[in-house]
């Protein structure tokens, strides 16, 4: 049952939260874990100190949205890795390797492979053209009002779906790891996030992300090293022992049920790769560095950390098969092979306890909480900037808003988003939210990515094409998910799905590209002509970085 559950969730998309939330949902609240709570309080105290410091440095809009553009490539690399490796990575992927073996490793490669592509085709152009949000790029030479409204709507859609998944995941996870009430956990995450973002803006959000990434990398490495020491640091010994005890036997190292259907496999690969390149909170990170040079370095460091950590997780999952899977202490009722205490996602936590005792368990639990908090903060900042920078400052005020009012609007927007996140987190507590992250990635890949890449690479894109492509991608991604098994059957309770595949990317992305193409080609308006004429300047700026937003001096 666990296996099926994991597979079906895995197919929908990816997030710790989804994974965690679903598998954790049926579990009981655990005893209060004081080690974890104390360590988490240390983390909160440290990050609050940083927020206090950051608040004194957050004066202009540029400070608020992009930390003044003064983050180094290395710092940003850590922060991107932090944004990308959620609690799902740590808990969900370890659990996936533990139950499915090699399938988990395949999944990790799908998650990783987008990064080189982002570097080769997007990173420096993003930095050279963008200022605060990715709509700065899509609207560069197009109609500001209409295109920004469209980009802000799809950004907010992505942010909201992702937030729900993270909040519900957070509540379930914290209930489990810390022994706190679900609602207490939701309020804690929501309020801490509001404090970080409203007071410290991007400076605080970046440092929260960096600290969390360092904690995650070191915690994972420590568990992996301690676990591997039991096998003489030999991968061969580990594999030999793991395959001999696992119920899959030698099949443990074969691709299993995860990607057996080619359409799903390719659609998932596309969705993860290009969804990553369309996530507003990830794209925003490219505007925090000094220049294109640092933007490239960010990807180099980020992808290095991500690749390293995925391999650590693979080893942790395999070691878990032996260290956790063979120890009756971790199973309900003490029966090996039965239900793991706390649910399937607890493998990483049990492994930490087995190799490092309660201290290491507490540390890893605190890392998981910190991870959720950091990801939620990044999302809230991205959502708030879509509201204040795109909709308020550029669409409503037509660029006439003062910096002070723009910052005030983004702070109000952050508090509203925080409140919305808390309310939705509570409303969705008992819901199956597994499809939310799939939807977020699907919308990012189908609504944000096509228009963004076309605006940078294709001279022929006009305002009309961008609007058709953007809204078309958004609507089709949402409809494909709505009619798929994960919502139509699992949530709405219908007998059969209207759309046979759970992954929308392979179908929604072509819709977006096609509509953008047709919309632009048939565009004979005056606006359309201006759009084409703007391409030359944009092209030179994208290539050279001349005229790009520069780092603030302080």
């Amino acid at each position: 049952m666990m296996r099926n559950l994991l597979t079906s969730i895995a197919l929908l998309g990816f997030s710790a939260a989804t994974f965690a939330a679903d598998a954790v949902a049926q579990t009981e609240k655990q005893a209060t874990n004081w080690h974890a709570i104390i360590m988490f309080c240390i983390f909160v105290a440290l990050t609050m100190g940083i927020t206090y410091w950051a608040a004194s440095r957050t004066k202009s809009t540029s400070d608020f949205y992009t930390a003044g553009g003064g983050i180094t490539g290395f710092q940003n690399g850590l922060a991107i890795a932090g944004d990308y490796m959620s609690a799902a990575t740590l808990l969900g992927l370890t659990a996936m390797v533990y139950t499915q073996g090699y399938d988990g490793y395949i999944y990790m490669l799908c998650f990783f492979a987008g990064w080189p592509i982002i570097l080769f085709l997007m990173a420096e152009r993003l930095r050279n053209l963008g200022k605060f949000t990715f709509s700065d790029i899509t609207a560069y030479r197009l109609d500001q009002g209409k295109v920004r409204t469209m980009a802000a709507i799809s950004s907010l859609t992505v942010v909201c779906f992702y937030l729900i998944a993270q909040m519900v995941g957070a509540g379930q996870l914290i209930k489990l790891l810390f022994g706190l009430e679900y609602n207490v956990a939701i309020f804690a995450v929501g309020i801490l996030m509001m404090v970080y973002v409203t007071f410290g803006g991007m400076v605080a959000t970046t440092w929260v992300q960096i600290i969390k990434a360092v904690m995650l990398l070191s915690g994972g490495t420590l568990v992996m090293v301690l676990a591997m020491s039991q096998f003489g640091f030999s991968f061969t010994t580990l594999l030999e022992k793991a395959t001999s005890v696992h119920k899959l036997g030698d099949k443990l190292m074969y691709p299993g049920s995860l990607l057996k259907d080619p359409v799903t496999a390719i659609s998932l690969g596309l969705g993860l790769m290009f969804g990553t390149a369309g996530l507003p909170h990830i794209l925003m990170r490219f505007f925090t560095v000094t220049d294109a040079k640092e933007a490239r370095k960010s990807v180099l460091y980020a992808s290095g950390f991500v690749a390293y950590f995925f391999n650590v997780i693979f080893l942790m999952g395999l070691a878990g098969i032996l260290i956790v899977g063979q120890n009756p202490e971790f199973f309900e009722g003490g029966t090996i092979g039965g239900k793991l205490i706390g649910g399937g996602n607890m493998v990483a936590m049990h492994l930490a306890k087995a190799v490092g005792g309660n201290m290491l368990l507490g540390f890893l639990a605190a890392v998981a909480f910190a991870t959720i908090l950091a990801v939620v903060s990044g999302l809230a900042l991205a959502g708030a900037s879509a509201i204040s920078h795109d909709i308020y400052a550029r669409v409503i005020m037509k660029g006439q808003a003062s910096e002070a009012t723009e910052i005030r609007v983004s702070k109000i927007a952050t508090i509203c988003l925080g409140a919305v996140a808390i309310v939705l987190g509570i409303l969705f507590e008992k819901q199956n939210i597994a499809f939310m992250v799939g939807l977020a990635f699907g919308v990012a890949a189908a609504a944000n990515f096509p228009v963004l890449i076309l605006s940078m690479y294709w001279r022929g894109l006009t305002t009309r094409g961008a609007l058709l492509g953007g809204y078309g991608g958004l609507i089709s991604a949402v409809l494909f998910v709505l009619f798929s098994k994960s919502v139509w059957v699992d949530v709405l309770g219908n007998a059969a799905p209207l759309f046979p595949y759970t992954q929308p990317a392979l179908f929604a992305m072509p819709v977006a590209f096609l509509l953008a193409f047709i919309g632009s080609k048939t565009d004979s308006t005056v606006r359309g002509k201006t759009d084409l004429e703007g391409f030359d300047d944009q092209w030179v700026r994208a290539q050279t970085g001349f005229g790009a937003a520069s780092a603030a001096n302080h």
Partner: protein, 106 residues
């Protein structure tokens, strides 16, 4: 003013050279990554059992694990190669182009 600068840069043969070289390099690397990755996805989809075979008689390392580990390393090495060349060779050329555009202006 910017438009004027952009036009001067665009007219510089060095700019055309930079764009051509960097694009060719970036697309070549992207093509390698996309081919290997989607090639691998297709093998997973259509011939999964081949990935479970050991790389050598009696070895515990399977083809799948080895291939994937190598891809993790290789893709990262490609990013390092790109960053190295872009941050030295291409950026130097880029600075020259901007400097020359300023000079023309005076």
């Amino acid at each position: 003013m910017s438009t004027e600068m952009y036009q001067r840069m665009k007219a510089n043969p060095k700019f055309q050279d930079l764009v051509a070289r960097r694009s060719r390099f970036a697309w070549t690397l992207a093509f390698i990554v996309l081919t290997m990755f989607y090639g691998f996805v297709l093998v997973v989809a259509f011939n999964p059992t081949s990935l479970g075979q050991p790389i050598a008689e009696g070895s515990r390392w399977t083809l799948g694990v080895t291939a994937e580990l190598l891809m993790f390393i290789f893709f990262w090495v490609l990013t390092a190669v790109y960053v190295k060349r872009a941050n030295t060779e291409f950026d130097a050329l880029n600075q020259e182009i901007i400097k020359e555009a300023w000079k023309d202006k005076k």
